[in-house]
């Protein structure tokens, strides 16, 4: 589309694009590359080693933090995806006046309100209702994560739902399918790419969260980002880079998969 003589070609644009792309990836590459550095003072290259990864795997706190992160992310994904799915379908139905608008607002609000405010609000709320007395441990973090993951799960689901033609449902109804039947046999399978995409986004969002988790986490329920931050405080070592690199790679794989799935099953 933009061949050399095409009117849409602008000078400098390609350069800016490539530079910006490099800009976006440099920190990621730095983390990964220097996780193999044999020198403890990280930015002086000393030799290649995988020792830091070994050290990371043997680190019990790290294992615990990873486990917590996985449990919270899986749980938050599960609940937020279900809630988002129900909400997406519900939003297309008949709703009392104003409910659609205010629901839409509630769906976008978590994306706009600064995370720090959500963090302190959730912390003070949990303190007030004495949630820690229920001793649900990681569950406390799970609840907080579910809340802000819903909008992230919602977006692809809603987008997918809108591509589905109403005639499909009419056809199902014509064939004497009950609403539930129609949902299970028609809607759900067709929505699957959107649901999967939404679930993955929710998972990554939960996995990434730092400030909300830090303020809300009860004892022993530290997650990976909180653990990394406490280590960064002490001073950045290649071990942290190793841990971070692992986390980065997981996120990248998830995003790529989400993309591939969404592309392939386009109806």
């Amino acid at each position: 589309m933009a061949e050399a003589d095409s009117p849409s070609r602008l000078p400098g644009v390609a350069t800016t694009a490539y530079l910006s792309l490099a800009f976006l990836y440099i920190p990621i590459l730095v983390v990964i590359v220097f996780s193999f550095n044999a020198n403890s003072l990280i930015t002086v290259w000393h030799g290649f080693t995988t020792d830091w990864y070994v050290k990371a795997f043997e680190n019990e706190d790290l294992r615990r933090a990873t486990l917590n992160s996985m449990i919270v992310a899986a749980g938050a994904t599960f609940f937020s995806t279900i809630i988002a799915l129900m909400a997406a379908i519900g939003m297309r139905g008949r709703l009392p006046r104003g409910l659609a608008g205010s629901s839409q607002l509630m769906m976008t609000l978590p994306l706009l309100i600064p995370e720090i405010v959500i963090a302190v609000a959730t912390m003070t709320f949990f303190a007030l209702i004495g949630l820690s007395k229920l001793e649900i441990g990681v569950g406390q973090v799970l609840i907080a994560h579910t809340v802000f993951c819903v909008p992230f799960a919602y977006s692809p689901i809603r987008a997918r739902l809108e591509t589905l033609q109403p005639s499909l449902f009419e056809a199902a109804a014509d064939l004497y399918a009950t609403p539930w039947h129609a949902f299970r046999r028609v809607t759900l399978p067709l929505m699957l790419p959107g649901i999967t995409s939404g679930a993955m986004l929710a998972f990554i969002t939960s996995l990434d969260d730092f400030i909300i988790t830090q303020m809300v986490a009860p004892p022993g329920s530290m997650t990976l980002p909180v653990y990394i931050y406490s280590m960064v405080r002490k001073g950045i070592t290649p071990e942290i880079n190793a841990v971070s690199a692992i986390l980065l790679v997981i996120s990248i794989l998830l995003v790529v998969s989400s993309y591939v799935i969404n592309q392939r099953k386009a109806v």
Binding site: L41, G130, E135, A217, P218, P219, S230, R233, K234
Partner: protein, 343 residues
Amino acid sequence: MKIRSFIFAISVAALLSGVAHAEEKQKLFIYTWDTYKNDDLFKKFEDETGIDVVTDIYSSNDALIAKIKAGGAYDIVMPSGPYIPLLAGEKLLNPLPADLQAMGEKMAANVKNPGFDPKNEFSLPLFYGTTGIAVNTKLVKEDITSWSQFFTRPEGEKKTLGVLDDTGTVMDIAAIQLGKPYCEDNPETYKAIQALLLAQKPFVKVYGATGYVERMAANDVAMQMAWSGDAFLARKQNKDIKYIYPKEGVEVWIDNLAIPSTSKNPENAKKFIEFVLKPENLAQYAEYSGYVPSLDAAKDMMPAEIKDAPEFNIPAGLNAPVSATCAPKVVKNQQKIWDRMLK
């Protein structure tokens, strides 16, 4: 069909986790500073008692208070002295059992019957240390002997100083430099401290303790207001670092063991305190953290090159007042000085 099997799976999982819970080991939740997280020592405790240790880290005493207040059910916390009365006043600490309180008598002279908890009702000293200057001798050629060399630099010099962001510590040091007592509630003193800090600001590269051990070791700062243990740790990585006791004096502070009122395992907490305060364990702990152990017996057990290191020995006769709890009004004013300075 899928939903039904899913529900089944969840119930089984719930059941299993319930069973697992019943057979769970005894636990101990520790909330402490990053440099006090001694995995080897904690493992020794786990091996001796069979109690599983889980450690979380805080970066300031205020973060500690906030977490306990929000209901954080930790069993052991390690607050600095001035915060003990605060925590106790907020009913956030459990009184120590009588036999633990009695251990207070065995403490070293520097930390015995501290002003913030004379009868060791709520706390037992763990480590004590000083706040002095960590000088990078590679970057600083002059001989540093005074706080005034830290607070006033020659005009036009680049930003090379590192200052802590713990307001209590900074205010205490400023008071020492000005020759005033700690926590003085006097408008003139406040203004003097404010002026001192503002005059220093153009030369300060970093305010904060985040990663400052590494910063010192990486030659990022020429002079750093540092806690003695962190200076010790930095010196281990970088031989050019030297810990200085300025002639006006240093702040002495004490970190203590305490049991929060939110604790779910107070008996395990007691066992931990008894374990840590055994001289051989405390010695190992002190070597790890770089601070002076509260028991002389422990200090004697440490290897000579550490025991005699500058960070572990306050020069005799030096002005070394122990940090104290300031009245809330004073704390507010100190925070005000800090905010205005950072503006």
